[in-house]
Amino acid sequence: MGNHRLLPAIGTIPLPDDNTEKYMEYNLKQNDETKKILAAITEGNTLTLTMEEKDIQAMVTRISDHHIHMDLDDGNGRKGINVYVADDNGKKIIVINGMPYYIEDDDSHRFAKNKKRSGANIPDVVTPPMPAIVISVLVNRGDRIEKGQKLVVLSAMKMETTLTAPFGGTVTKVNAKEGDKVAPGDILVDIEKEE
C-alpha cells in the first residue's frame, strides 16, 4: 500500500492520505424510511459498511460516470453486480437489475428543507405533476371556487390531465394561459384560502 500499491483499476476509490480507517456516517433515505450506515474505506478500492448491525465489504470499480461494478462480500460468499447511478434533483437514481431506487442523503434533505419552506413539495398548490402544455384554463381571477373544482387542463405527450382545487377559496391570480409550457413547481393558479 501507500507508495508501492499497484496501479489501481480505472477509477477505483483512492486511499485516504493518512491511510487510517475513516468512518463516515450516512443517513440515507428512500421514500419515508431513513437508514443509518457507517462506511469506511479499508483498502484502496474496498468499502466496509455497517448496516443494521451487519458488515458488508464492497470492492468498488468505477467503470464510467454512471456505471459502477461492486464485488460484494457479506460473509456468506462473494457476488458481483453492476449498478447504474445518476444524480437528479438532489437524489441519486440507482438502477439495479432493472429496478430504479431514488435515494437521498437525509442530512442534506434536512438542510434543503430549511432553506426552502414553500414551493413544489407542498401539496396545497396548483402545479403540474410533470412537464406539460396547458390545454385550457377553466377559471378567471376573482372566481370563487370549491375544493376539487377543475382549474386547468394539461396535456403531456398527448395525454390529458386536469388539475383541481386543493381547497375552496378565491382565485387571486392566474399564471398560465393556453399553449404555455409548464413544469412541476410552477404555480398555475393562486388561490386565497377560505377561512
Binding site: P8, I10, Q30, R62, D65, V83, V95, Y101, M159, E160
Partner: protein, 502 residues
C-alpha cells in the same frame, strides 16, 4: 404515381420521428436507398434526424405545425428529390388526404391507395365493408355521431359498458370505456378533444364493450398485382389506457384451425377493401373463441417486429418493393413461424403513478444485448424526451425457441436495460413477465386491471442501492477533483485526465 416498372427508389423521405423513423431508415440503408428525415423545433437533436442522410426542418414543435403539416412534408420531398414517402405509424400514416396529395404531386406514398385508407380509416365504413364480405363485427354503430344526446341514447340501446372510439382513430387515442350513464358526457367530450388533437378529426362512435376479450391481429401483405397473403397473428391483449404495451406471436389462444380461419378472414377483408401494401386486420377474440372484426390498420404497426422475428421477413423491405410496383415474392406457403417472439414497449412514463408521462433528459442509458434480442430505439444518453409527442422510447423484442424461453429472455433483457433520468415501465414489465397469469398465457385486455390493479415495485435490493450510493459518492470525488489523489507514484488515468467528463 402509379408504378409498375419495378424500378427501385433511390431516395425516400420518412415522414415520422423517433424509433420508427430509425427502424425504417435502417432497412432503406440496407437497400441502398438514400434517407431523408424531417424534424420540428423539438427534434433538432432527435436520433432520427441525426441518423438520416439529409434532414429537413418542417416547422414548430406542435404536431399540427410539423409532423402533421402536409404541405411542408411534400415540399421537403420535392426539394430533396425523394421519390417516395414512408409515413411510419401515427401522424399522417392513415391520412387519406395526405396519400391523395402525394399521388397528385407524383410522390409514391408507401401504403395503400388514398380511397382504401379513407374507407378503412373511417372505422364505421370499415365495419360496413366487413359486414358485406361476411367478416363478423362487434355490435355497435356504423355511423359517427357528434350529438351527445344521440350518443347517450345509443349507449342505452347497446347497454353499458360501451366503448367510445374515434372514427379516425388508432393507438387508443380518443378511446374511452364508459360503465355508467353519468360518466358519458365528460368521456365523449374528452374523447372528441383527444381525437381531434391526435388525428385532426374529432368524430366518435360507440361499440359494445366486450368483457375479457383478447386482442388478436393478423398481418397482411398485398401487392399491386392482386396478390394477398397473411403473415400469421400477433396477440396484443396487454394494454394500459387502451394502448398495447406487450405483444407476442404466436398467440397462446389460437389453435391451428382458428389461426387458419382468422388468416383467411383477414385476407378476404383485405381483398374486399382493395388493399395494397402492409396492413393489419385487428380482431377481438371472446371467451368462446369467436372472433370479431375490430379495424384495419392501414400502416406498419408499432408491434410489427414480433412478426419479423418469427417469420424472418423484413416487412419494411416488402412495403418498399410493393410501393415500387414489384410483385410479391412470397406466397402463403412460404410463411411459417419459428419459435416465439415477445415485444415490450418502453414508454417514458411512471408505472407507479397511473402511467403518467415522464418526459425529461436521459442522463444515461445502456441497451440490452445478446442472442435473440432486438431493441428498436429512438433515444440516447443525453437526449431530452420532448413533451409534445407520443411517449414511446423504444421497443424491446426478444426471440427464442418457445414461449417459456422467450419470457426468460425478455426478463433478462429488461433487467439489463438501463435508462437513467426518466421513468419507464421496465420494473413493471419484469413483474408481468414473472407473473403466473402471463406465464399461463392468460392474457386478456383487462389483464392489468385484473392482475396488477395497484402495482407497486418490490424494492428488494434497497440495501444494495444504499451501498451503491456511498460507492458513488466516494469514488466520484476522484473523477471530479483529480488534485486530491496525488498519493500515487503511478498516475492513474484519473489523475492525468484533468476535468474531462466522458
Amino acid at each position: 404515381m402509379d408504378r409498375n416498372s419495378g424500378i427501385m427508389f433511390k431516395k425516400i423521405l420518412v415522414a415520422n420521428r423517433g424509433e420508427i423513423a430509425l427502424r425504417i431508415m435502417k432497412t432503406l440503408r440496407e437497400m441502398d436507398i438514400s434517407t431523408v428525415s424531417v424534424h420540428s423545433d423539438a427534434d433538432i437533436n432527435a436520433a432520427h434526424r441525426l441518423f438520416s442522410d439529409q434532414s429537413v426542418y418542417i416547422g414548430k414543435s406542435a404536431p399540427k405545425e410539423s409532423y402533421l403539416n402536409m404541405a411542408a412534408i411534400i415540399k421537403a420531398a420535392k426539394e430533396t428529390g425523394a421519390e417516395a414517402i414512408h409515413p411510419g405509424y401515427g401522424f399522417l400514416s392513415e391520412n387519406a388526404d395526405f396519400a391523395a396529395l402525394c399521388e397528385k404531386k407524383k410522390i409514391v406514398f408507401i401504403g395503400p391507395p388514398a380511397h382504401v385508407i379513407k374507407n378503412l380509416g373511417d372505422k364505421t365504413i370499415a365495419r360496413q365493408i366487413m359486414i358485406k364480405s361476411n367478416v363478423p363485427v362487434t355490435p355497435g354503430m356504423s355511423e359517427p355521431e357528434t350529438d351527445i344526446s344521440s350518443l347517450m341514447k345509443k349507449a342505452e340501446e347497446l347497454g353499458y359498458p360501451v366503448l367510445i372510439k374515434a372514427a379516425a382513430g388508432g393507438g387508443g387515442k380518443g378511446m374511452r370505456i364508459v360503465f355508467k350513464e353519468t360518466d358519458m358526457k365528460d368521456a365523449c367530450e374528452a374523447a372528441e378533444r383527444e381525437a381531434s388533437q391526435a388525428f385532426g378529426n374529432g368524430s366518435i362512435y360507440l361499440e359494445k364493450y366486450l368483457l375479457k376479450p383478447r386482442h388478436v391481429e393478423i398481418q397482411i401483405l398485398a401487392d399491386t398485382h392482386g396478390h394477398v397473403i397473411h403473415l400469421l397473428e400477433r396477440e396484443c391483449s396487454i394494454q394500459r389506457r387502451y394502448q398495447k404495451i406487450i405483444e407476442e406471436s404466436p398467440s397462446s389462444a389460437l389453435s391451428d384451425e382458428l389461426r387458419q380461419a382468422m388468416g383467411k378472414a383477414a385476407v378476404s377483408a383485405a381483398k374486399a377493401a382493395g388493399y395494397v401494401n402492409a396492413g393489419t386486420v385487428e380482431f377481438l377474440l371472446d371467451m368462446n373463441n369467436q372472433f370479431y372484426f375490430l379495424e384495419v390498420n392501414t400502416r406498419l404497426q408499432v408491434e410489427h417486429p414480433v412478426t419479423e422475428m418469427i417469420t424472418g421477413i423484413d416487412l419494411v423491405k416488402h412495403q418498399i418493393r410493393i410501393a415500387a410496383g414489384e410483385k410479391l415474392t412470397l406466397s402463403q406457403k412460404d410463411i411459417s413461424a419459428k419459435g416465439h417472439a415477445i415485444e415490450c414497449r418502453i414508454y417514458g412514463e411512471d408505472p407507479e403513478n397511473a402511467f403518467f408521462p415522464s418526459p425529461g433528459k436521459i442522463l444515461f442509458m445502456k441497451e440490452p444485448k445478446g442472442p435473440g434480442i432486438r431493441n428498436d430505439c429512438g433515444i440516447y444518453s443525453g437526449y431530452t424526451v420532448p413533451v409534445e409527442y407520443d411517449p414511446i422510447l423504444s421497443k424491446l423484442v426478444v426471440h427464442a425457441e418457445n414461449r417459456e424461453l422467450a419470457i426468460q429472455r425478455m426478463i433478462q433483457a429488461l433487467k439489463d436495460y438501463v435508462i437513467l433520468g426518466i421513468k419507464t415501465p421496465i420494473p413493471f414489465l419484469i413483474d408481468i413477465m414473472n407473473s403466473d397469469a402471463f406465464k399461463k398465457g392468460d392474457t386478456t385486455t383487462d389483464f392489468i386491471d385484473t392482475h396488477f390493479p395497484a402495482w407497486k415495485p418490490d424494492k428488494k435490493d434497497t440495501a444494495l442501492a444504499y451501498i451503491a450510493f456511498i460507492a458513488d459518492e466516494l469514488s466520484k470525488t476522484v473523477t471530479q477533483n483529480p488534485q486530491s489523489v496525488k498519493n500515487s507514484d503511478f498516475p492513474t488515468p484519473w489523475e492525468t485526465i484533468g476535468f474531462y467528463r466522458p
